[in-house]
């Protein structure tokens, strides 16, 4: 019973995090701020959701597989965001805060 509510707590927590990430995607006017905060808060939501599902499904091969998915995502997801941020920076995409500084 306690595990059921603990899992549900984690899932609701992740849904709140993702909602804040989506709000941030629409609220910020600058690409660098979006990738810095919103996209990363989405990752927090993803990990919390996977932890909640592991707690809900108990000890079995399926929950171990979900754990494996989480581990893999922790290594591959930063590579993708690093590639995007680096590509924008190398190309010289300027954001408003830099135009003011120059």
């Amino acid at each position: 019973m306690i595990f059921l509510w603990l899992g549900r707590f984690f899932i609701i927590f992740s849904m709140i995090f993702m909602l804040i990430g989506i709000i941030g995607l629409f609220r910020f006017k600058d690409f660098y701020l979006r990738i810095l905060i919103s996209a990363k808060i989405e990752t927090v939501g993803l990990l919390a959701m996977l932890i909640g599902l592991i707690i809900l499904s108990g000890v079995s091969f399926a929950s171990l597989k979900i754990l494996l998915i989480g581990l893999v995502l922790m290594f591959t997801n930063p590579l993708a965001s690093h590639a995007i941020a680096r590509s924008a920076r190398v190309n010289g995409y300027l954001s408003p805060w830099e135009k003011i500084d120059d």
Partner: protein, 162 residues
Amino acid sequence: MINRGAIKNICLFTLIWILLNEKLNGFVVLSGIFFSVISLYFTDKVLLGKSYSQLFHIPFTTILAYLIYLIFQIFKSGLTAIPKVIKGDCRVKIVDYHTPLNSQLAISLLANAITLTPGTITIEKKGNILSILCFDDEEITDDPELTTTFSKYEQILGSLKS
């Protein structure tokens, strides 16, 4: 070619093979060892051209401590980033960070951890200098919190050889 690192890696791959198959009997274990040897050999000879076990030699305790500290740090800085979303406006700057680590793999793992935490992203790695995109707060000038976090990662990853 046969050394302790390769045997450790083969054990790990067999474990993952059993996990993928979702059952545990003699046939699965034998086929797991067979395919682990094949994929390790193929990686060494064709894909990498070097020894996988020497290139990616990570002790188990290191990776465990790294992951636990990383998850803790992700949730912590995720909570601190929420007010910034609600406020809706921030300024961003790029700082250069010089790490004392000298292994290629350790620096990459450090950069991965930095990227995964909300609020900081690694943009470029040149040697052991990392360019990091982070907030530009007026109150905090020297980022002491950021530096202590990074030095904790470096303490964990310091056992990796180059």
